[in-house]
Subunit: 250 residues, 2 copies
DNA sequence: TGCCCACATTGACCCATGTCAACTGAGATT
DNA sequence: AATCTCAGTTGACATGGGTCAATGTGGGCA
């Protein structure tokens, strides 16, 4: 990853007090072993739009998102772009053993990462019990999510794509805030229309038109361009082409 | 997985003599430890079209493809289907810790699997050195491949999709036979037009038309419907919308 | 040998989504 | 307040790929 962090690099937080401790790679690591991680880790911050790694570039560090949103995307020579992952707090970025990043990682919001030098992390992986196990779980979760996304990209209509995206945000928002999905939740879009298009394999214009269409049909309400009300989650799920319970990976 | 194997269940092969030993989950396991795996494993065979697991069903066994081709696919309530993985010899099917399959697994050809009871395998994972590490590598490779596929599904044209698929087959064929990609390799399609459509997010008709179009343009030659000649691999790569070296995961 | 059946190809047509372009609106800059 | 800018919306039109339907074809079996 680049050496160009933007904000102050906060070293302050000890792993024991880490906000993402419960779900990150380190979550199975014992208190006693945590010292090793704590000694090696460092924070780095990035501003919106700032590049974290570029595809093809060597990434010397890997680690977790502590705060903010990071997009992973691939770009074709002629500029067509497909987002292949949208990473939130506690998600893991980068891959052990492989020095070259296969995609661009870009900060979408203000982002703080908890990083480890890659080769050091590879050694930790071998002698820190629980680390590898958690990383495997995370990788398998990502794989399931990627496959769910393949269904969306390959087979869903524009309307279904947008609706699916909103259901995911709604579930994420509900989970984070403890609200119920039932009673008219409001979600905040973490990304621009362009990024939504890149995520869903659509153009900006189609994203915009589908949002308008969903609004006209009363499935959602728009409060400014980044805030979306969902009066009836079940109706949205239906528009997403999901069977009632979804089967989706949040 | 189902208990309805079709062919003789060959227990004959010892792990030490296994044809996929070098690349499968077990490849880092020491000779001495191999006994444990060998004692637990069993073979199961399936005929073309036979279901291995259904989405939503409990899968009690997980393991490797020894021989043949397996498709993983997701289906929407209205029947739209997207293949999310095409598994060849040494690929791993199923996921530890998660009892319910998130997709259908179907034998495409005659298939032989090397299976382990899932919960037993989970225990092995913890006390067999190297097993977890290799599974992590496999999962991360699959994840990279899935993300590459997301780019294809979300952003590539029908012609590019078909061409990309053929480049992958060509590389796989070349690697398996030791031939060079340069001199007019011939690939055999392992799946029907319908399955190709499901893999690429296209209809049968579009698959057929694009193959015809590529033939008319001299990019490929058709020898029967399942055999395709590739006179100039570079030209095919170009039609796939790839920059010269690809960057694709085979 | 010839028929059958599933797989594949081809044609005609249509529609969802992309493309190109103009317009709008909210926040920042002066 | 005037204006600039950039994200977003909307409109008109083009087109790639889907849909529906007819036709071709090759391998297995009577």
């Amino acid at each position: 990853m680049k050496a160009t962090g933007r904000l102050s690099e906060a070293h302050a937080i000890h792993c024991a007090d880490c906000p993402i401790r419960a779900r990150a790679v380190c979550s199975y690591v014992e208190q006693t072993e945590l010292q090793k991680l704590n000694a090696l880790k460092y924070y780095k911050s990035f501003g919106p739009g700032q590049e974290i790694v570029a595809a093809g570039e060597e990434s010397t560090a890997i680690g977790s998102v502590v705060e903010g949103v990071v997009s992973l995307s691939k770009t074709m020579v002629d500029g067509r772009r497909q987002m292949v992952g949208l990473m939130f707090a506690s998600d893991f970025i980068g891959r052990p053993q492989v020095p070259v990043a296969p995609y661009d990682a870009v900060a979408v919001t203000d982002v703080t990462l908890c990083l480890f030098p890659r080769t050091r992390f590879e050694r930790l992986l071998q002698d820190t019990p629980g680390l590898e196990r958690r990383l495997l779980e995370i990788a398998l979760d990502e794989l399931d999510a990627a496959r769910e996304w393949m269904l969306l990209l390959g087979r869903k209509s524009a309307r279904e794509k947008i609706s699916t995206f909103l259901t995911i945000l709604a579930r994420r928002t509900a989970a984070a805030s403890g609200e119920s999905l039932g009673d008219g939740i409001t979600v905040t879009l973490p990304i621009t229309r362009e990024a939504i298009g890149d995520y869903l394999g659509l153009t900006i214009e189609t994203v915009s038109r589908q949002l308008t269409s969903l609004r006209k049909d009363g499935v959602i309400s728009l409060k400014g361009s980044r805030s979306i009300g969902i009066p009836d989650y079940a109706e949205l799920l239906d528009a997403a082409g999901e069977d009632a319970d979804g089967g989706l990976i949040a």
